[in-house]
Symmetry: C2
Subunit: 241 residues, 2 copies
């Protein structure tokens, strides 16, 4: 099954303390870039893959979605998500993105934030998402950027004034094990090319590809983000079914 470190209590507590957990969508620096790629949600049936605490699921309902299904592998996160809403048009269910089966044409929009890098078989996942979307529906997702994920020892290096991100292993696809918030986390490194070609092979038309780093305005507000312009943190894609 896909990585589920989120059900380890110590990890869950640490994750719960992050900006993106406490402050919701506005605590995630990439959210404005994701939001800009979303279609008008009015009346749409929305699927949120790896919904976490349900921040996006609730936001989608507040912005006109007719119904939202949030799927998540972590029971601790689902428990918390369920406590945050009594809206009958939002439902939360347990699902593993590695083995998910979606009914044909049930959704107008599939959203996913920072979950796909835990999935080993992206070809299968994209085929299921394409099947689950109506023709003309959209997939909008973020994932860790492969430049961020590839290195055998991910981290910054200072060379005099120059801060660099020593890259290796970029073309060596496969699992990457790192320590994050005190847990061993396994992610699956794919190049941008592989991700995009798998989407095309699944029947998607690519509409936008963004290698995300904080904007100048975001850096002005939080100067500690400036280094993030040296290498992208996230890959954000919009594709049409």
């Amino acid at each position: 099954m896909a990585q589920n470190v989120y059900d380890q209590p110590a990890f869950f507590d640490a994750y719960s303390g992050m900006r993106r957990s406490n402050q919701g969508l506005d605590g995630a620096s990439e959210w404005p870039a994701m939001r800009a790629l979303l279609p008008d949600l009015q009346g749409l049936s929305v699927l949120d893959l790896g919904c976490g605490y349900g921040w996006f699921s609730r936001w989608a309902r507040e912005h006109g979605a007719a119904r939202v299904l949030g799927l998540e592998v972590s029971e601790l996160m689902l428990d918390r998500a369920r406590t945050t809403t009594s809206d009958p048009a939002i439902s939360y269910e347990t699902a593993d993105l590695e083995t998910i089966e979606l009914p044909p044409g049930g959704f107008d929009l599939v959203h996913s934030s920072l979950a796909f890098h835990y999935v080993e078989d992206a070809a299968r996942l994209f085929a299921q998402i394409r099947r689950g979307l109506v023709g003309g529906g959209h997939l909008v997702f973020s994932t860790e950027h492969p430049i961020y994920m590839a290195p055998s020892e991910p981290g910054w290096r200072l060379d005099g004034d120059r801060k660099t991100w020593p890259l290796d292993g970029y073309l060596l696809e496969g699992p990457r094990t790192t320590d994050w918030l005190g847990a061993r986390v396994v992610k699956h490194h794919r190049t941008i090319g592989t991700t995009l070609n798998l989407l095309i092979a699944a029947g998607f038309t690519l509409e936008h590809v963004e290698e995300f780093g904080p904007s100048p305005d975001q850096i002005a507000a939080r100067p500690e983000l400036a280094d993030e312009r040296q290498r992208p943190m996230f890959l954000i894609v919009r594709a049409r079914a």
Copy 2:
């Protein structure tokens, strides 16, 4: 105008000594990957942007193209290209990719090898190429990979056993000046996302995106290529008009 270091005699002599100059298409490690993306050339009208010595233009004719136009900014390269063929269906002309104007719908295939990174205004270039292609025609091109181009000091670093490519400036798009074969060369760094979004905006459908490094077979034949798996050298794209 676009970078034209190729008309500096000392640079031209040094470039002429490279594998890809002496051995033609088979001297370029990325050629098998490019070739695999080409459509059947039988009867096609082909445009080769930055045709250099004309290796691809001649290959296209040998593989069935009805006619080939090779455009190149370097007069020294054009002079050499013209000496290599007397085929009346191949023509070579001077053109600057920064200011090129293509007649509408004149070509079935546009090919370009390692020329677009010299072009500052890629939006203009892609719009011209889209205009020059028939509907359903293809653009297949290679360019230096932005990971290769971005760093302020591009080059390998050895950390114990680990060979890394210290990356910086990836999200800082714009000119990059490097020394290559004894000349100062100016290239224009764009992220993969920017390149793909400009293609989409110009009306192209993306069909394949490849971040090229040598294959295991190529490394077995030339072990000195092994490091090139640590970071991609080239970006290769096929798009449909």
